[in-house]
Symmetry: C3
Subunit: 206 residues, 3 copies
């Protein structure tokens, strides 16, 4: 599989997964159907949109509205499933971690292909992975959970983005480096959720 084909399908999967988390999160608020769908769209497309604006690239869902349709259809299905059944909130965490990994690594790859210098490229990956969730939290009037202490979220994304660059620089094929780096993001996020792995923090103990 070529790296471009891989990135296309990874991006599409990330859009679906993030749309799902958007609806799940908005279900805790008083939102109607269109409100929930717009939060789903913002969560699914927000990170990649900011990346494309920063790179002065054609915005991906304007150039190919399949992404928008995937976000919309996923959002619709999840909306009506959530209305009928009460899903446990933890269910939210697994697709969220996968979406974070997919978007972060796809975003970093795209920035590298766009000849962005390495540190800025890794930040592009973090932005692609994290901004959708930040938008979701702001639209739902939650504190953006991304930066809070006690969970490796942005940290997992950034570690994965840097890993991707190091692995590719050391000669690993792009497709393999992509899979490995996505694994690192999910692993770090999982370790943090399961074992409470944390970083040093400011402020008193939580």
């Amino acid at each position: 599989m070529s790296i471009d084909v891989l990135l296309y399908w990874v991006g599409m999967a990330a859009v679906a997964v993030n749309a799902l988390t958007g609806v799940l999160d908005s279900s805790r608020k008083q939102m109607d159907l269109i409100g929930a769908l717009l939060v789903a769209i913002a969560t699914a497309l927000g990170g990649g949109t900011v990346r494309d604006l920063l790179l002065d690239r054609n915005v991906f869902w304007v150039a190919d509205q399949t992404y928008l349709m995937v976000a919309l259809v996923t959002g619709l299905i999840v909306f009506f499933v959530v209305r009928r059944t009460n899903l446990p909130p933890q269910l939210f965490l697994i697709p969220d971690a996968i979406g974070l990994a997919l978007f972060t690594i796809a975003g970093t790859q795209i920035a590298l292909q766009w000849h962005v210098p390495w540190l800025a490229a890794s930040l592009m990956g973090v932005i692609t992975g994290v901004v959708g969730g930040v938008l979701r939290d702001i639209l739902c009037n939650d504190v953006p959970s991304v930066f809070l202490k006690g969970e490796l979220y942005a940290t997992a994304a950034w570690a994965g983005a840097i890993s991707l660059i190091v692995l590719q620089e050391s000669g690993l094929a792009a497709v393999n480096a992509t899979w490995a780096a996505m694994g690192i993001v999910i692993l770090l996020r999982g370790l943090s959720l399961r074992f409470g792995l944390t970083l040093p923090a400011l402020g008193g103990p939580r």
Copy 2:
């Protein structure tokens, strides 16, 4: 009247009306003159700015600062009127509905002229109509009211944008389709405010 001339004046009117709602909303907060004017500018220019960035178009108020002047002068006048008289808060709702209709339909038309595919174009309309108000609510530290259940706001915008596209595709002249679609936005918003028309929603009863 050509469609370009119509869109120019509709956009200018929408800027004035949204600047007005920005000052009225900020009057409930502790803002000074410049704070209120900047909220007015963000409300008036925010939606169209995001649309222009997404389309990689020249930002409209940078290319033609008349829009900025209209926002500023409207904001100044409203500021000093509000200081002297106590306007009822419901007054806010009518210009807000008109601004939503003007911006949404103008934004959709511009995206169609820019050859954006139809679903993405309708979302551009919603973004143009809604983002100014979301910025206003965030800067005033309110919950963005746009997505909440119990009112057709983003819903009215999206229905109007889709109507515009359907009407134009079925052969109606652009100018007539523009007026009709703006009417649909205002009608739906009005029905929601007057008769409590709503959409299905997640979460318990309000």
Copy 3:
């Protein structure tokens, strides 16, 4: 010193100073190292990024990642200093005023060089100066303090930007006008903090 060299170093200093305020502000929240660094980066690079997007200019820290490195290293140093010593919160105000002056005037100069009309150029300066702090406040879930009554913040920025344009139009050399306008921003901000200088405001007395 040429105006371009001056703007380069003024911009770099503003990035460092704003990164510092980002970490200081996030230290009042429960943020871990990477969370604090990302807030520092958003505070340091946010205003200039929005300006560059609006001007359709290459985003400054993507074109030259030195800015990003300066933000990151400053953030790291401040993070570990803050962990060991308890800095008084007022310390925050002086670098914040300097950062506001540096960014506002550099942003206005860049917009003028980009042939933006004068009123829009002054607003570009305000955006460059203020958006980083607004992002910081939103990410830290504070009310954006920028627009509140009782302090000349956005007001000081806008007065400085207009002064720069007037001084340059009246024939003062660009480098001298730059220094003078930065002085005006710091002076107004200082007078507001020291003597409670304010503008007329809406709403009841504070």
